[in-house]
Symmetry: C2
């Protein structure tokens, strides 16, 4: 029986899971592959992790270089995280003609084009199913299962930490700080949660999805990002009164000319399937022009779900290697040389529905002033809630707008915030609701 | 640029959709494949369909044999449906060394082992993503994306006709006959709906999923099947009172020794994701031992969703052909020669929770007699609803049981049906509820 040899770099949570699957399921994997899949080496700088790894002493090393230099290793699996050292390791593995598997979304979002170009030049493969939505086979679906489609739009809950926090805030009335503290206790959030809660991790993943969906080079820079750390439970309550949940969504859409790509807290109808994705789960709801709507749902993080995706990549690349084949399918689903990338639309040009909240200090007349300014900027109102009760010394006025251009809304809010009768700043969230046809006021 | 030539047999709804994608999206498909994918021929016995096909006169034929005999055609796509003629065509295509794509679940469930053995002997590929869940890339997920997992259990809503009927019955209070008539008007049900409503189509698909999930040969025969044509709206109402929806589920589960495989109307908690899959949609909720729970959701039928899946298979096989490769991955996910199939558990040995409804003619004492007989058969009751009001001349008594063995339940019901105080037959539905821990009565 043929044998394919795998070297792991990094034995943290995911690396330990991959080592476990490769050793405990040798039989299953051999039945699938028709060849032996051997964990031939693992590198890790922390001695206790290295010691716990299920492989022979001779296969353990503290130096990643040993894995790269081992001529017997066919597939290098990078699981150290971070972008700088990981980039050097991955490029070095490619330079040595090895296939690479990684779960590293930051690496791909920041250095993906360089890495994929190096892999193309050296004629090796780079696979990264685990980089988005953990164990959910989403990248496979976009590269292959839905390859006959032009993707029209895609909405993703891509960060389990944020979704956990939003679920606790919305279902249990917690503040952001309380929910974050609990998420940290439960192991769903890091000590420094910035990358997650500010939407940066979600943007890294969205950059990968945009490339896969529209066959374009990776490009993080034009993706506009805002996170959940400023979210007030008050807005979750008002959103619910309008029939919406708030989720941190990665949104991408092809309007035929330009691509939208943005990450922000978003109001979605409470009966939308994504509104019922709770806790640390991830999901993507996308529409293809042939297939229609598709939802994929599962655990986006954690040792074994992520390891499940990494090993599926290892198996796929091993299938190529056992048959003397490399570069069977383009990493981003399309041959880049045959592609013409489309521009990403600046946020100012996005047209969507808005949830706006103003704090009125002096109630009579304020609604007409606010709606007057909105009207001057071509923004019409679909629904209003005006509460008699004061919240923190002001009376909230909450509105849902008809479709409006982001630039117009921002200009209008600047003007409204200067009114003496409101306490700035106004709160703005975007809405995704295909059925928003409420009567215009 | 290399070219891969495709021949279609059957230009019904799905075939017309495949022809449309192959011709209208030549550019997209070429960018994905790095080669030209050409619709080189199409066979159809109905002249009007043939005339409507988007290809040159010389490529149209009324004889499937012409497609089989064309030495230029690399991939034959069988879309005529039915099992007998389709079997002959597919075996003939394989014998001529052509790769085959089919959407035909009946063909696979009935003749799949023969076809896959012939393909293995002739060293060609057979792909069938569209045979289960239409456009949802479920087979790809099981063969590749989740290949590191041992699948523990899988619940599928696999038939859009049944799900449409159940949705209308449950949301709009229709009778089965009304909902079926509407489904027929809307084009969601055939004039003769037997294959759909009696669960047979679902069983065909489950046979394929069982093979993929557990790496076993196809085997339709031991799958127990009951459909929805006898479902009384009364049971949808009572189920709702207990917190359940009723869906026609395909269920398969590996208990470590044997495999369960059954199709029947099933009570599931109303907050389960599958309970909210409505209308003609399909979904599969599965649990892998590494990845945990996964849901895949989308349109399970219709021209373009099904064509989307067929074309994804064509692309995948074309990728192999452009690189001179066949038989890259086993059709059922595992090398059959390396596998040891496990038995499918007879329905009598299944242990689950039950919903039971009895029609009591004479109320006092009847509950104690019924529960006495259930107790004698080791069946304990988790919850009871006893309605004072008469329904069709009898008082319904509805129960949810703790876990019990199917054979015991059937024996108990036979005994209860003989009691003079009940009007037979008792109604039985099975429940899938991991959280069923109601207090025992």
């Amino acid at each position: 029986m043929k044998s394919v040899k795998v070297g792991l770099i990094g034995l943290g949570t995911v690396g330990a899971g991959v080592a476990r699957i490769l050793t405990e399921r040798k039989d299953l994997l051999a039945r699938r592959l028709g060849a032996d899949l051997a964990l031939a080496g693992a590198a890790e700088i922390k001695p206790e992790r290295l010691k716990a790894a299920p492989l022979e002493e001779a296969c353990r090393t503290s130096r990643a270089q040993d894995i790269l230099d081992d001529p017997g290793i066919d597939i290098v699996v990078e699981l150290i995280g971070g972008a700088t050292e990981a980039r050097d390791l991955v490029l070095a593995a490619i330079a040595r003609g090895k296939s690479v598997v990684t779960a590293n979304k930051a690496l791909l979002a920041l250095h993906g084009n360089e890495i994929l170009a190096a892999a193309a030049a050296r004629k090796v493969d780079v696979a990264f199913e685990a980089a988005v939505c953990g164990g959910v086979p989403l990248i496979l679906a976009l590269r292959q299962g839905l390859a006959a489609n032009r993707i029209q739009e895609m909405f993703g809950i891509l960060n389990g930490t944020c979704n956990y926090i939003l679920t606790r805030m919305s279902q249990d009335g917690m503040s952001y700080a309380q929910a974050l503290a609990e998420a940290q206790q439960q192991g769903f959030a890091e000590a420094d949660p910035t990358l997650d809660v500010e939407g940066i991790d979600t943007a890294h993943k969205l950059a990968i999805l945009v490339s896969l969906a529209f066959g374009m080079p990776l490009n993080l820079e034009p993706i506009s990002v805002s996170g959940i750390s400023k979210l007030d439970p008050l807005d979750l309550q008002f959103a619910r009164e309008f029939g919406y949940a708030i989720k941190l969504l990665a949104i991408t859409r092809n309007d035929g000319r330009a691509i939208e790509a943005r990450v922000h807290p978003t109001l979605i109808p409470r009966d939308h399937m994504l509104a019922n994705v709770n806790g640390a789960f991830n999901a993507v709801y996308l529409t293809g022009d042939a297939v229609g709507p598709i939802l994929l749902y599962g655990q986006g993080a954690g040792m074994m779900p992520t390891a499940s995706a990494v090993v599926s990549d290892i198996l796929d690349l091993a299938r190529n290697l056992t048959q003397g084949l490399k570069r069977r399918a383009p990493a981003l689903g399309c041959d880049q040389a045959l592609n013409s990338p489309r521009p990403i639309k600046p946020l100012d040009e996005v047209v969507t529905n808005y949830y706006l909240r103003f704090a009125a200090l002096d109630r009579p007349g304020v609604l007409s002033q606010i709606s007057g300014i909105l009207g001057q900027h071509n923004i019409s109102i679909a629904a209003v809630i005006q509460k008699g009760r004061e919240v923190r010394g002001a009376v909230p006025i909450v509105m849902i707008t008809h479709e409006a251009k982001e630039a117009n809304v921002r200009h209008a809010l600047l003007e409204i915030d200067r009114l003496p009768i409101v306490s700035p700043p106004a709160v703005l969230y975007r809405i995704e609701d295909p059925n928003l046809h409420a009567a215009q006021i």
